[in-house]
């Protein structure tokens, strides 16, 4: 398991490749499922031009690690990597990477969803958006993941 909180720009695909080349044993995993959260240029009907992500150093890493450990205990997965940005960012910038390696796809999909959902619920990060008009405001709440069955019903 590897958890990183960083101010530097995040290249999620480079992180996945680097983790596979340096940490994982080649040929053992059957797949990797990744979630990459990126910054939108809109939120709640407003145009957003920049964002600052605040966090509680120490508590953030601790809670992401707890969520990753729960995923590793709950599903048959080989490894979990989470990299999360903090500081100033702009639309389309990657904010977070969750990558889960496993022998089979089902556990990797489920564990990846678990990690991003509970990270959003528990890890102490706060988004402060700047609108195109130059107004600054704190985001009050995250959108909820409705769950697999419900999201499919909405999609079809």
């Amino acid at each position: 398991m590897r958890v990183v909180v960083q101010e530097e720009a995040l290249d999620p695909y480079k992180e996945i490749k680097h983790h596979e080349e340096t940490v994982l044993e080649s040929g053992k995993h059957g797949g990797v499922v990744s979630f990459v959260g990126t910054m939108r240029d809109f939120n709640d009907g407003e145009d957003v031009s920049a964002m600052n992500l605040d966090h509680y150093p120490g508590m953030t890493e601790k809670h992401i690690e707890q969520v990753c450990q729960e995923a590793m205990d709950g599903w048959d997965v080989m490894d979990v990597l989470v990299v999360h940005r903090v500081g100033d960012m702009y639309p389309s910038d990657p904010i977070v990477l969750v990558a889960v390696w496993s022998a089979h796809r089902a556990s990797a999909f489920d564990a990846c969803r678990y990690v991003i959902n509970y990270l959003k619920e528990r890890a102490p990060f706060w988004k402060c958006e700047v609108t195109k008009a130059g107004k600054k405001h704190w985001v009050e709440h995250n959108s909820k993941d409705p769950g697999v069955a419900e999201s499919r019903e909405k999609a079809v």
Binding site: G37, L53, D54, H55, Y56, G58, M59, T60, K62, H84, I95, V96, I116, L119, K120, E121, R122, A123, P124, F125, W126, K127, C128, W138, V139, E140, H141, N142
Partner: protein
């Protein structure tokens, strides 16, 4: 007892500071007592509390040197 206090995000701006130190009389004190030393207003309903970087609530008892953090709902990911 001495308690280290931290504020984050919109609450930090509202309180006008990132951290504070609170001294409480007596041997027994809760997170609620800390808030009451910091503000004459009741704690807003949506504010979350952590002691030594673990989520808890206002009724948690504290010991000297504990770090108490107050912050609004989290919005990472």
């Amino acid at each position: 007892m001495e308690i280290d206090v931290k504020f984050f995000a919109s609450l930090r701006e509202r309180m006008g500071r990132t951290s504070d130190k609170v001294t409480l009389d007596g041997d027994v004190a809760t997170v609620s007592d800390v808030w009451n030393q910091l503000s004459s207003e009741p704690i807003p309903n949506n504010i979350l509390v952590a002691v030594n970087k673990e989520y808890t609530d206002l009724s948690q008892e504290l010991k000297s040197g504990d770090e108490v953090a107050f912050f609004p709902p989290v919005t990472g990911g």
